[in-house]
Subunit: 336 residues, 2 copies
């Protein structure tokens, strides 16, 4: 048992922040004082932890010198604003927002590249990758010894909860409006999300790529230690509340041995392989679970060097909060 | 003006059959007698056509010698059962179900490969491809002269209407049950489709591929006259009522000239290119329209020879009924 440490969670009232506090409790993480922080809008609210209600405080007024580890579970901008304060207070930092450069805060998936922590100076800065990158890395890492990757082609269908509670509320509201015969009024999204699929998530750059599409490719290359890996990524928003659904095509340098792939995925940590006569979905399989579900394992239609898969994974737990807590467990082992 | 011909529509009460009858009227197709046929379950219903209500008759009792052209807009099994009767009655045939082999009934998209009709003996047998293949062919054909294709990677998110009225009813019912706090009861689908994404459409074969995935690849190769083209296809069912959403990555043999691609798509028939700061969706753009909407045009993240696109297309009109009527117009020009 490690000695308890004092911790702050920034963004503690959001979907991911709330899950993070739950998982700290579930896994009996050695927490000393737990400081739950959020913007002024959430101040005064409280969040349950070990039978008590912990009051939310504003991040603006917090002195990070009180803690040894800070989780950032709010937006990128919040991470960028407060990370320098955390650093100068000498705290370790785990970011869930993708707000820090890969060089400053390496992307780590606990089951895939824990060795990335070796050689880092304490206090460490780590990033938990985007939920889609975590799910893909969990499925791809066990295949590394079986094939040399040439290229990945990913289409990721995100749930509205990837935009937090507001996303969930908007899909529910628009759906109810439509079922009641009223035209749905888009607020958070730029158009109707109910019974629609939005083929763009967030703004795109001059080359036409969304930030998340670039992030997925960069994070996968870092986590899988495959700097040359080519990645085609398309992120879409689906009228689904929770769970990422990912369609993945892998091109390898050699013919795929499907039975070896099956065996590797059956034995892999953090992955549940679905039987060939079934397929994984977010509702019913992935949501609320701590592993990524993978199925529809098949070779290429016309290419022996291709592998196709379908992945369903909880975007809030395994895709965010759980991995962040697993990273904290790794940090504690090495003394932050 | 061509002389009017007598026509039968098999599956006239379905979503596609109804649209087909509407489009025959809209385009002032030279119809003599119009015979609307369906299974015994639909006999006695009627469908409006040019201000009259045409009574549905059973396909079992119909004498195809009464007509010169038959549309098959029911399932594959119905096409296979009745096509021999249609042939021996000397009628031309246009299948929308995919029930006939490519060699017997060539796949044709009116804007893409009308030349496929040359050299066919009358009476002709043609097939309108799967709606996803039509949308992809419309977008790819204008690019043929700009690049040599190596491989396509497609993820197609289908709407529930691809299973007809029962699919639409099931999504509506499950959604209402969930919004009313009741557990949704899956009937047509094997699990919850409301707020979920099903990464498999129909049964899969021993190699793990769904019939529609194989059909897409084969039809694209025939329509684009690209027998060597490699295609990775994944078909999923989305909680969307109408319209196909397609994520497409194209690998070419040479660097992509994006401005040439843009110009080609702007000038192409059957395609509407969305502005770079916008993106196409099924609701708001594609549904009810006669063209495939394409956007999110961009090069590869890390590969100059790659092109990425997002396509939204009406699965019932352009994807099925409209193309079938356009094929009939081509047949009439050449005397069936």
């Amino acid at each position: 048992m490690h000695p308890a440490i004092d911790i702050a969670v920034v963004g503690a009232t959001g979907t991911v922040g709330t899950a993070l506090v739950e998982i700290l409790e579930e896994r009996d993480f050695p927490v000393g004082q737990l400081h739950l922080l959020a913007s002024a809008a959430s101040a005064g609210k409280s969040v349950p932890y070990k039978g008590r209600n912990l009051r939310i405080r504003t991040v603006e007024a917090f002195d990070f010198a009180q803690v040894r580890l800070v989780f950032f579970a709010a937006g990128e901008a919040v991470t960028r604003q407060y990370a320098p304060l955390v650093r100068s207070a000498g705290c370790a930092l785990i970011d869930l927002s993708g707000g820090l450069p890969l060089q400053e805060a390496p992307r780590v998936v606990a089951e895939v590249n824990p060795q990335a922590l070796e050689g880092l100076d304490a206090p460490c800065q780590l990033s938990s990758p985007a939920s889609q990158a975590i799910a893909l890395a969990l499925v791809l890492a066990p295949l590394r010894s079986l094939m040399q990757w040439r290229r990945l082609c990913v289409t990721a269908c995100l749930p509205v909860s990837s935009l937090g509670r507001e996303g969930v509320a908007e899909l529910a509201r628009q759906t109810a409006e439509l079922l009641n015969g009223r035209p749905p009024e888009p607020r958070l999204f730029d158009r109707q999300i109910a019974f629609n699929l939005l083929g763009r998530v967030g703004a795109v750059d001059a080359a036409g790529h969304a930030g998340l599409e670039r992030r997925l490719a960069e994070e996968l290359r870092q986590v899988l230690d495959a700097p040359e890996l080519k990645v085609a990524a398309t992120c879409a928003m689906a009228p689904v509340f929770f769970g990422d659904s990912l369609s993945l095509a892998v091109q390898a340098a050699q013919a795929i041995d499907l039975s070896a792939v099956r065996t590797a995925l059956e034995q892999a940590a953090g992955v549940e392989l679905i039987a060939p006569d079934d397929y994984p979905t977010v509702i019913g399989d992935a949501v609320g679970q701590d592993v990524a579900y993978v199925g529809r394992l098949r070779g290429g239609l016309d290419d022996a060097c291709e592998l196709n898969l379908w992945i369903a994974s909880d975007n809030v737990r395994k895709g965010s909060a759980l991995n962040a807590v697993q990273l904290a467990e790794l940090l504690i082992k090495r003394g932050l």
